[in-house]
């Protein structure tokens, strides 16, 4: 259950449209069911009133849309940003990927988004409605007479369970209460893997990555992946392959993908959210984040505009690549 209501967001959007501050609103549009919410650009009050939604399923990170959506827009775009979205927003600004002047950012608090797959794992298929209220979801299915009660905390998306910050790092206007940066447990899973033997780790990733179908959703949803021409689309790059032909290519793709956003990844978790095969891609990103924090000092991509990412920076005292393992071996 979100602390801020749809009506509050709607009122804000309608009034900003009415007074001419913005000419378009980037928001969530309702779908066929209660949970299949689609990002959309709204231009009129009527459109907003009919289709705008805000609920526990509004997970999509809008920052990336700002790169493409404003080219031909006259006037400003209103964009609603959850705390984690604001980090991506800043990171894109750092990289000069959109015009800040054309955006009116409204920060909104977020109590975590629900992963519908987790709901289905509990209630089964055939969900006819999901009612978000309090700290519970009321799920009606085609097969149960009575709605099933599910605790929201149990079905939160992984990234929200391990939320890193409820604080907005960028906005023009903030609705609701400002939150705090959270001392989360987001690296626990990475540490668990690090503690395994190489053989166990290899088996773990072999199992996960073998499911990859190379749909590129992780890349296309990623707010850090905004290259005009991606290496994976370049026929001469040697990695342009539309299907993972074997386990080498599966690994190659995922190493390169994670590497390309290393230091710029804000850990928004979109990659894992969109993966149709439930591959825990965020673990690769978090491994890089954790390493860089340990090797080169704490760094949160997107925390401020203009900061220099660890991989495009250096000091003369950096540790040697070989020492990476020595450190871990002595720590262990």
């Amino acid at each position: 259950m979100q602390t801020i209501t749809r009506d509050q967001l709607l009122d804000k959007a309608v009034s900003l449209l009415a007074d001419g501050t913005v000419t378009a609103v980037l928001g969530w549009s309702k779908g066929e069911f209660d949970y299949d919410v689609t990002p959309a650009v709204f231009k009129t009050e009527a459109e907003l009133k009919e289709n705008f939604v805000w609920n526990d399923f509004c997970g999509a990170n809008f920052s990336k849309y700002l790169v493409a959506k404003m080219d031909r827009l006259e006037g400003k775009m209103l964009v609603f940003l959850k705390p984690c979205d604001t980090y991506s927003f800043n990171q894109l600004l750092t990289e000069h990927r959109f015009d800040r002047e054309k955006v009116y950012a409204v920060g909104i608090p977020c109590e975590g988004m629900v992963d519908i797959a987790k709901v289905k794992a509990i209630c089964g298929e055939g969900i006819s409605s999901v009612d978000c209220g309090g700290d519970k979801l009321l799920v009606t299915t085609l097969y149960e007479e009575q709605p099933v009660e599910v605790a929201t905390a149990e079905v939160l998306a992984e990234r929200c369970v391990n939320c890193k910050s409820k604080k907005h790092v960028a906005y023009d206007e903030l609705l609701g209460e400002e939150g705090e940066v959270i001392d989360s447990n987001r690296f626990d899973e990475v540490e668990k893997l690090e503690a395994m033997t190489p053989d166990e780790r290899f088996a773990f990733w072999q199992n996960e990555l073998s499911r990859c179908i190379r749909c590129n959703a992780c890349r296309d949803a990623c707010p850090a992946c905004t290259c005009e021409k991606c290496v994976f689309d370049n026929p001469n790059s040697g990695v342009e392959n539309k299907a993972p032909a074997n386990s080498f290519e599966e690994k190659m793709f995922h190493i390169i993908r994670a590497y390309h956003v290393a230091g710029r990844c804000t850990d928004c978790g979109e990659c894992s959210r969109v993966c149709p095969q439930n591959i825990p891609l965020h673990l690769l990103n978090r491994k890089f984040i954790k390493d860089m924090n340990e090797f080169y000092g704490e760094y949160q991509a997107g925390a401020e505009v203009g900061s220099r990412a660890p991989l495009v920076d250096y000091t003369t005292e950096d540790l040697e690549p070989g020492e990476v393992f020595d450190r871990r071996d002595t720590n262990a």
Partner: protein
């Protein structure tokens, strides 16, 4: 095939200004290092894209070593400082995926260090030989 017959294929990326000259010096001084090391000359260690390393494994390498100028001595002032960070991140990731950490290495070898070059290569080849063939980052299509 018996284990002791295994001869690893090693790819060594060597920076033009220091390590490649170091390899030359090793040769001039008749210092031995295994012929299994294939040297690829690069303008700077920083030229080595992480993809090069993965591709070397794909094409049949059992170990990949990257040699550059000592930190502070880079011909282009700061190239090897970037290399150092990049490779630290990449090697750590390869290790995270369960790929043997002994298969990758970075070593700084100056133009005067022919002996170090030979010693490094001998040591690296020995370690990789002990590991056996690269099975975890192999592309079977390239082996048939």
């Amino acid at each position: 095939m018996q284990v002791n017959e295994f001869k690893p294929l090693i790819v060594a990326f060597c920076c033009n200004w220091c390590s490649y000259a170091g390899a030359d010096l090793a040769g001039n001084n008749r210092l031995n290092y295994p012929a299994d090391v294939k040297i690829i000359r690069v303008p700077c260690s920083c030229r080595v894209n992480p993809m090069f390393i993965l591709r070397a494994f794909q094409r049949g390498a059992d170990g990949v070593i990257l040699c550059g100028c000592h930190p502070g001595d880079c011909h282009y002032t700061s190239g090897n400082y970037y290399t150092r960070r990049r490779m630290a991140a990449l090697f750590s990731m390869l290790d995270f995926l369960g790929i043997e950490k002994e298969r990758t290495r970075v070593e700084w070898v100056s133009a005067a260090e022919g002996a170090k070059f030979a010693a490094t290569m001998n040591d690296f080849v020995e370690k990789v030989t002990a590991l056996g063939p690269n099975k975890r980052l192999e592309d079977l299509r390239c082996k048939r």
